[in-house]
């Protein structure tokens, strides 16, 4: 499978994968084992903003087209519109009830079918989505497409001809990775500072192309995705344990130190 656009002209066609997620800055409540959706607001997952910014920077340098793709219900269109307002050229929205309940693999399957409809040089995604924090979709998609993956990218150092050099945060430190295009990169939030969607951009976004697709359009068997096709199942959700209130110590530094050390050793037993 060659899904590389003709790079001879120097143009770089980038696909950005984005997700519209529950706003985790708000108080997320769990009831009966699932997240209470009532009254929640949704936002563009933050690492996806970094991915969009990276795509737009590349577009400025190399021309080409940036397409944003999302899977989700009607409301997910908001994040696509935001991407368009930031400067993305085209939106693709896979809106099909059968995608609901997909796990990372399900999303990756749908995306694999979606992105291969047109030639591309690079796929960018957030390193994880802000709602589930799984971080599986990007790597799984790279695998399905059989293209190289660089995860947790903190810098895109160079793009030339058929190669791209990226810096990633690895376990042991920064790694410099060179890949052959097309490739998939997932963005760390220190990759860049996402631009603000300008008011002009927001108004202009209305006139940009937005394609809405169903699974049928993509010739995907609904049984292979969504809750039906999920290989993983979330059996229970629990709200994070509430943190106990901190304790404040007042007095002379020597005395406080003694008191705190006593508590750490005897109560918290942190020195085992």
């Amino acid at each position: 499978m060659r899904h590389r656009a003709d790079f001879s002209g120097g143009e770089l066609n980038v696909i950005v994968l984005i997700k519209h997620v529950i706003d985790v800055e708000l108080n997320v409540r769990v009831r009966d084992g699932s997240v209470v959706q009532d009254g929640m607001t949704y936002v563009l997952s933050k690492w996806d903003e970094n991915a969009i910014e990276a795509a737009l920077v590349l577009k400025d340098a190399h021309d080409g087209e940036v397409t944003a793709v999302t899977i989700g219900p009607e409301r997910s269109g908001e994040s696509l519109r935001k991407a368009l307002a930031m400067g993305v050229d085209k939106g693709v929205h896979i809106n099909d009830p059968a995608t609901e309940g997909s796990d990372s693999m399900g999303y990756a399957r749908i995306l694999a079918k979606t992105v291969t409809r047109q030639p591309y040089d690079l796929i960018l995604a957030g390193r994880q989505s802000q709602d589930t924090d799984q971080g599986g979709t990007g790597p799984m998609l790279a695998e399905l497409l059989n293209i190289p993956l660089v995860g947790n990218v903190v810098e895109i150092a160079a793009v030339d001809g058929t190669k791209l050099t990226a810096h990633r945060n690895g376990d042991a430190g920064k790694e410099v990775v060179e890949v052959t295009l097309p490739a998939l990169l997932t963005a760390n939030d220190s990759l860049n500072e996402p631009r603000l969607a300008s008011l002009r951009g927001i108004m202009a976004a209305k006139n940009k192309p937005m394609e809405i697709l169903t699974l049928a359009d993509l010739e995907i068997d609904p049984a292979t995705v969504g809750a039906a096709g999920a290989g993983t199942e979330v059996v229970e959700m629990q709200p994070p344990r509430a943190r106990a209130a901190g304790q404040k110590f007042e007095g002379a530094p020597e005395e406080i130190t003694k008191e705190v050390m006593g508590l750490l050793v005897n109560e918290a037993k942190i020195f085992g």
């Binding site: 908001e78 603000l196 969607a197 300008s198 008011l199 002009r200 927001i202 108004m203």
Partner: protein
């Protein structure tokens, strides 16, 4: 009440982020040192704010007044001076859009919209502000141009701006006096100089200047609308929008004073409890919040009427009067609630306290506002 569209939500989100990222971190330094926020102006240009209410066909965004007022409220809550940089500019633009000739619109509005050309309103003179019909700046026609002489003062953006809607007398003998008044688009050039920057209590960062016109020649086609004698009418009709805008600033300031007081009152403790549990503080907080809510609703309703093309001169005046007084009272109450810290330059309260009085003076003093409201009441309700 008015519901926001998706675009409106995105726009306000952009504004909020701009404020958090770029305005708040440097507002105190810029304000105290009275530094013109050149980098913020560049960002505002990029965002499109200088074309916010200019029609899309002339390169603007064509935002509704309702949305525009919300933008102004938010920015004013962070730093009122910033709103002055694009506000009187947009009122100048509105005068061109509503009353200018098609050639004037095509020539100027696109440049105003990008912020490439910025400016404001030059109405006030050293000897008169409220009584604009008493202005002494004159324009005398000579063949294809007018020669202008006079002095304008307190002109916002006077130093940084390049072009101003300039109110003059083309006929000093006309009766009634306004028949002899005209509004020009005056671009800086020979004979048009800035004589000084005015130092002031608050509203720092934005430049207020005295402008001097000495045999300043302006081409006749810069007379807005091309017809003499309509200047005061054009000016006053722009003030409706101006009042809604000042009212929105008042809401922003009143809300900022409330928000900070509300937070502070919950953490500051005296006599063993947070001060928000002392009744006298509770009374102030309740009154402050009530003022904010009422002012917000008045601005929304005046803006909605304006957007629908309904008459709203009195409503805009009421919103301006109430919201500016709310800002002043809330700023004072915030200072009481913050105690000594309210007086400190390390907090924002002292800035609100210095900024708020301007709202009671500018865009028609509140005394005049009351007179106009009362006149309109009688006019609309004859017995």
């Amino acid at each position: 009440m008015t519901s926001l569209t998706n675009d409106d939500t995105l726009i306000l989100e952009t504004i909020d982020r701009f404020i958090e990222r770029e305005v708040k971190p440097q507002v105190r330094e810029l304000e105290h040192d009275d530094i013109y926020p050149a980098d913020l102006v560049e960002t505002m240009k990029g965002l499109g704010l200088f074309g916010a209410t200019i029609a899309p066909e002339y390169g603007g965004l064509g935002l509704s007044t309702t949305l525009y007022a919300k933008i102004v409220e938010r920015i004013a809550a962070a730093w009122m001076s910033l709103t002055g940089i694009f506000n009187s500019h947009l009122i100048m633009a509105a005068a061109v859009q509503r009353f200018g000739t098609e050639a004037q619109r095509r020539e100027f509005l696109p440049k105003f919209a990008t912020g490439e050309m910025r400016g404001g309103l030059a109405l006030t003179e050293p000897d008169c502000g409220t009584d604009l019909q008493a202005i002494r700046t004159t324009a005398v026609r000579e063949r294809d141009h007018y020669v202008i002489n006079g002095t304008k003062t307190w002109i916002s953006n006077g130093i940084q701006g390049q072009i101003f809607a300039l109110l003059v007398k083309t006929d000093t003998t006309a009766e009634p006096r306004h028949r002899g008044m005209s509004l020009f688009l005056a671009e800086k050039g020979k004979g048009f100089t800035v004589s000084r920057k005015l130092e002031k209590l608050g509203y720092k960062g934005i430049d207020s200047a005295e402008l001097v016109f000495e045999d300043y020649a302006v081409p006749a086609d810069r007379l807005i609308g091309g017809e003499e004698g309509l200047g005061l009418k054009h000016t006053l009709s722009g003030l409706e929008l101006g009042r809604i805008n000042v009212a929105a600033r008042g809401v922003g300031l009143a809300r900022a004073a409330l928000d900070e007081s509300l937070a502070y009152a919950q953490v500051r403790k005296t006599f063993g409890k947070p001060i928000c549990e002392h009744q006298s503080i509770q009374i102030m907080l309740a009154d402050m919040a009530t003022r904010v809510k009422a002012a917000q609703l008045m601005v929304e309703s005046a803006a909605a009427a304006y957007d629908k093309g309904e008459r709203c001169d009195m409503e805009a005046g009421m919103a301006k009067l109430f919201a500016s007084e709310a800002a002043l009272t809330n700023a004072t109450d915030a200072m009481r609630i913050h105690g000594g810290y309210g007086y400190s330059k390390e907090f924002n309260i002292e800035r609100y306290y210095r900024d708020a009085p301007l709202l009671c003076i500018g865009e028609g003093t509140n005394e005049i506002q009351r007179i106009i409201i009362s006149r309109q009441l009688v006019e609309r309700n004859p017995v």
